[in-house]
């Protein structure tokens, strides 16, 4: 039963409120003034079930090798405390890839940012705690990469909130289920709403380019025994993402011998030992741990061998 003739007035009168009306009449009869009161009619305001969901992210949230946190706001636009069941759908069409949903949590400490291990996780199919009328709760959807998106690909994630009491076309009545002792009635939002947040894949792509330069006692570049070969490996990361734990390793070619202490990173010497610096080298090979390398950065590793 739809009986709305005015735009919604904020959250409105709280569910359970009584609206009462009494009229009074005065008159004169037989020369005497009289007063009479009417009976009092009383109407219990039922619970209006309405909800709005909105994405709080101004633009697509970068998603690299770790997590991305999508932020949503669920607002109870009804007139009584209500819990809302949450459903997350990352498998939408019209985007480039489907992120994997790690968890859904609400901002239980109220600081507007996701705190892993602190903010309360809402299990799949679970509901928010009660949200007061006109109040909002911030919801975090934590996602990771899935599939093999290219750098810059986007993935959409939909969050739907549904009133725990029930949903349906405006005017659907859940008898006796309302806060405050009355019915619960769905409003214009059908007691269900959703919004979409978007992540953008930030993928770092590693390329390695190796070159060699030969010098020998004859002063030319012939690869004769005794000649020194200096290998140069340029490790470059392209794309908007970064690469973590990037380790570049190479073996000493058969028939050559590593020149002790010749290993350098970006022209700075590294010791051969497995110690605090980034590199180590032996007769078998070299290994340099570049750690996290941001997109657009490159590093040059050099080492020398002599031809046996």
């Amino acid at each position: 039963m739809l009986s709305v003739s005015a735009p919604a007035l904020a959250a409105g009168v709280a569910a359970g409120t009584l609206i009462e009306n009494t009229a009074t009449a005065t008159y004169t009869t037989g020369g005497d003034p009289e007063t009479v009161d009417s009976n009092t009619v009383s109407i219990l305001v039922d619970e209006l079930l309405d909800v709005e969901v909105s994405s709080l992210d101004a633009s697509a949230v970068p998603l690299g090798g770790g997590n991305a946190v999508l932020s949503f706001e669920v607002t109870n636009t009804g007139n009584g405390p209500e819990a809302f069941e949450l459903t997350v759908d990352p498998a939408l069409s019209g985007d480039d890839f489907n992120p994997a949903v790690s968890l859904v949590a609400y901002d239980s400490n109220g600081n507007d940012v996701y705190d892993s291990g602190v903010d309360t996780v809402i299990p799949t199919g679970g509901a928010t705690p009660l949200i007061d009328a006109d109040d909002s709760l911030r919801i975090f959807v934590v996602v990771t990469l899935a599939g093999s998106p290219a750098d810059g690909d986007t993935g959409d994630v939909d969050l739907t909130a549904t009133a725990a009491t029930g949903s349906g076309p405006a005017g659907t009545v859940f008898a006796g289920a309302g806060d405050g002792g009355g019915d619960a009635v769905t409003g214009t939002t059908t007691a269900e709403d959703d919004d979409i947040g978007t992540v953008i894949a930030e993928i770092g792509v590693v390329s390695l380019v190796k070159s060699a330069e030969i010098s020998n006692p004859n002063g030319d570049d012939e690869a004769v025994p005794g000649a020194t070969v200096t290998f140069s490996i340029v490790a470059s990361v392209s794309g908007t993402g970064s690469v973590d734990d990037l380790v570049v390793a190479d073996t000493i070619p058969t028939g050559t011998t590593y020149v002790a202490s010749s290993l350098t990173l970006d022209s700075a010497s590294l010791t051969d030992g497995a110690d605090a610096d980034e590199g180590e080298a032996s007769g078998a090979g070299i290994e340099v741990d570049l750690g996290t390398v941001a997109g657009g950065d490159s590093h040059t590793i050099e080492f020398s061998v002599t031809i046996d």
Partner: protein
């Protein structure tokens, strides 16, 4: 507005009762009622949207309520200077139509007039026209109720 047509009925009137006893029995009865204004949307067949009054089974903010006050002179004497005063209930806002249709007060019943003639002073002393939201009381005046005469007044208000 739901000023129903005045219905004159011939009531069995006890003429034996003296005036004082009549006064104690309150010759005029006043009955308050409320209905929900249900909107019936326009149909594909071309019927325009209309409203009907139904028992208020479920009422939520934004709904329109139709309050009515029925009166009847059940006594044997004429009643004069009959005035119904109805404070606007809490938690509702008077409809614009109802606010304009009868005498209203915006100051708790001290001063009265048609809404269009009333103004509200703001904090700076400037005056603005009063609106339906300012109305605190409604009033209906009927100069004479003959014995057996009945009728009703009413107003519509939106649940805040």
């Amino acid at each position: 507005m739901i000023f129903k047509a005045l219905i004159a009925t011939l009531a069995a009137v006890s003429m034996a009762a003296p005036g004082a006893a009549m006064a104690q029995e309150k010759p005029v009865s006043l009955a308050s009622d409320v209905k929900l204004v249900r909107v019936i949307p326009a149909t594909a067949q071309g019927d325009a949207a209309k409203t009907e009054l139904v028992e208020p089974a479920s009422v939520v903010p934004g709904d329109t309520l139709a309050f009515s006050i029925s009166y009847r002179n059940a006594g044997g004497e004429p009643v004069t200077d009959f005035v119904i005063v109805n404070p606007v209930p809490a938690n509702v806002q008077l409809s614009d139509e109802s606010a304009a249709a009868s005498e209203v007060s915006i100051d708790g019943g001290k001063n009265w007039g048609m809404l269009a003639s009333l103004t509200v002073a703001d904090a700076e002393g400037a005056e603005r026209p009063a609106t339906a939201a300012d109305v605190t009381h409604l009033r209906w005046k009927i100069a004479l109720l003959t014995p057996g005469e009945s009728g009703s007044a009413g107003f519509r208000a939106i649940v805040r």
